[in-house]
């Protein structure tokens, strides 16, 4: 054990642990960004732990992660307020999407704002699958139920407690509605029987931010990665990312390049 412990520590100086949400990792985005980052900083080894935003923030607070890539603005704000990080730096965005069965039994296709679509799903008692895991997506979903004035309880409402991919598979099997980030839905589009039905309005904007926990072990190396991600080269790497040979874009660097939507920029509705 001692030998193993020593060998585990040896690589520490130039390696950092990045905590990232399932949507950023499962799409392959992070592998792409880290590969690009390593072209310029080959000495840094980025080790990625996948955790929903709530879990990532808790792990970061306790000093287990050096850098967080999360998308839960309110939780991030209270993380900063509590002194666990100095600031949150928005780095990229896309859009949440309400996905559902192609038949759309609740009739919400193209509806806006999202809370109205949520209210209609609840009124009709149509099945809805929630992440239920304190992730950024789950936080947003809870906020939308609030806005819709609906108590999300009852036989129509199920909590998966799992990551985005599993939740989409579950919703597909149950022919249920769910709230998802556009990227994960796109990359599973050939696998799950769900279609993007509503998205693109301001209340569905999904911004990913970087946070450097004060308790981090290797702040300097983590800062180098954070700086690179918000630099022009990092922004380009985010914009050029495509999932496994498909042609559509999943993430957009923050703020939007044209500046027009810099204040309320939201991701376009993913295909």
């Amino acid at each position: 054990m001692v030998v193993l412990a020593a060998s585990a520590c040896r690589g520490d100086r130039q390696s950092i642990v990045l905590g990232a949400t399932t949507s950023a990792y499962d799409s392959g985005l992070l592998e792409h960004l880290i590969a690009r980052f390593n072209e310029e900083h080959p000495e840094v080894r980025v080790r990625t732990v996948i955790a929903g935003s709530g879990e990532a923030l808790a792990l970061g607070r306790d000093g287990n992660l050096d850098l967080l890539l999360v998308h839960s603005p309110e939780a991030e704000a209270s993380f900063v307020d509590a002194g666990h990080a100095r600031e949150r730096r928005p780095v990229m965005y896309n859009s949440f999407v309400i996905a559902g069965p192609p038949g759309d039994p609740a009739g919400i296709r193209g509806m806006s704002p999202a809370a109205a679509a949520f209210a209609k799903i609840a009124r009709g008692g149509h099945r809805f699958v929630s992440r239920g895991d304190s992730s950024g997506t789950h936080h947003r979903e809870v906020a939308l139920w609030d806005e819709a004035g609906v108590a999300a309880r009852g036989g129509w409402y199920a909590e998966s407690g799992q990551g985005q991919g599993m939740t989409l598979q579950l919703a597909s099997e149950r022919e249920a509605y769910t709230l998802t980030d556009g990227a994960t839905l796109s990359l599973l589009s050939g696998t799950v029987g769900l279609e993007p039905l509503a998205g693109g309005d301001r209340s569905l904007r999904n911004v990913y931010s970087l946070l450097q926990p004060e308790a981090a072990l290797r702040p300097a190396t983590a800062k180098a990665l954070a700086e690179w991600l918000v630099s022009p080269r990092g922004r380009r790497a985010i914009a050029e990312f495509r999932h496994r040979g498909r042609e559509f874009q999943l993430f957009w660097p923050w703020p939007p390049a044209d500046g027009a939507a810099s204040d309320d920029g939201y991701g376009p509705l993913s295909p």
Binding site: A5, A8, V17, V49, D62, Q162, G190
Partner: protein, 244 residues
């Protein structure tokens, strides 16, 4: 209810063929994960044997006061839920935890430790039961024939070696297929702590069914081998017992 067109969704045949192709073509990602799994669970097994075997044998062979509670304690270890072991290891090794300064969270060492705790009771409980089951006359005869104390113990070990092999196989089967503990303490980090079970969870979530299936096939083959070992030794000890 509208059915999805079949060709548009996951049918099991294409990913299965793709999985076999991945395995036979020596795909680096897949095989690295498989070998890491075997390495980590193998190391954990060695640790579990080093600790579990002497404990089991000592408690099984010795006679002392409060022996019964100790036996109960060892056997209770068998019922430890792996995911709870993982949670406990996480809380210990987290930087906010008592052993946080070791910085072992998200390392193979942490996974080996957690898996050793899961496998240890298997080894200890089975060796304990086996040691208890050795007929006392074997030892008496040996002593009568002039064997030393250590020779007697070795002789008794020979008697129970089939049970021990079975315990080791069962322990290995339990930890190599365990997902909860390694996910929590290992973190499923690419090239470091990603093992077969956590990779299957990830690749299924990502929709990369062929990769998940490839590792699932290997995991099932390992389970089959473990069972074959168990059966083989169970039968051999049975025939020996009936011969005696």
């Amino acid at each position: 209810m509208k059915k999805l067109p079949r060709r548009n969704r996951f049918g099991p045949v294409d990913p299965l063929l793709e999985a076999l192709r991945l395995l036979t073509s020596g795909d680096l990602y897949v095989w690295n994960v498989i070998l890491r799994s075997l390495r980590i669970s193998g190391s954990a097994l060695v640790v579990a044997i080093i600790i579990g075997l002497p404990v089991g044998l000592a408690v099984g062979l010795a006679r002392f006061r409060f022996r019964l509670p100790v036996v109960a304690f060892v056997n209770a270890g068998l019922a430890l839920p792996p995911v709870v072991v993982g949670l406990a290891a996480f809380l210990l090794l987290s930087r906010a935890g008592p052993l946080g300064d070791l910085r072992l969270l998200y390392t193979p060492a942490a996974m080996i430790g957690a898996q050793a705790v899961i496998a240890g009771p298997y080894i200890a409980a089975v060796s304990l039961a086996a040691a208890q089951g050795i007929p006392a006359d074997v030892a008496l005869q040996a002593r009568a024939l002039g064997a030393s104390r250590w020779q007697t113990i070795l002789l008794r070990l020979r008697e129970i070696r089939t049970s021990l092999v079975a315990a080791v196989a069962a322990g290995f089967g339990a930890i190599v297929s365990e997902v909860g503990a390694v996910m929590i303490v290992g973190g499923n980090i690419l090239d470091e702590t990603r093992v077969m079970t956590t990779a299957i969870v990830l690749e299924t979530r990502r929709g990369n069914f062929e990769v998940a299936i490839a590792m699932g096939i290997v995991l099932m083959l390992i389970a089959l081998c473990v069972n074959a070992v168990l059966l083989l030794f169970a039968r051999r000890s049975f025939t020996r017992a009936s011969a005696a």
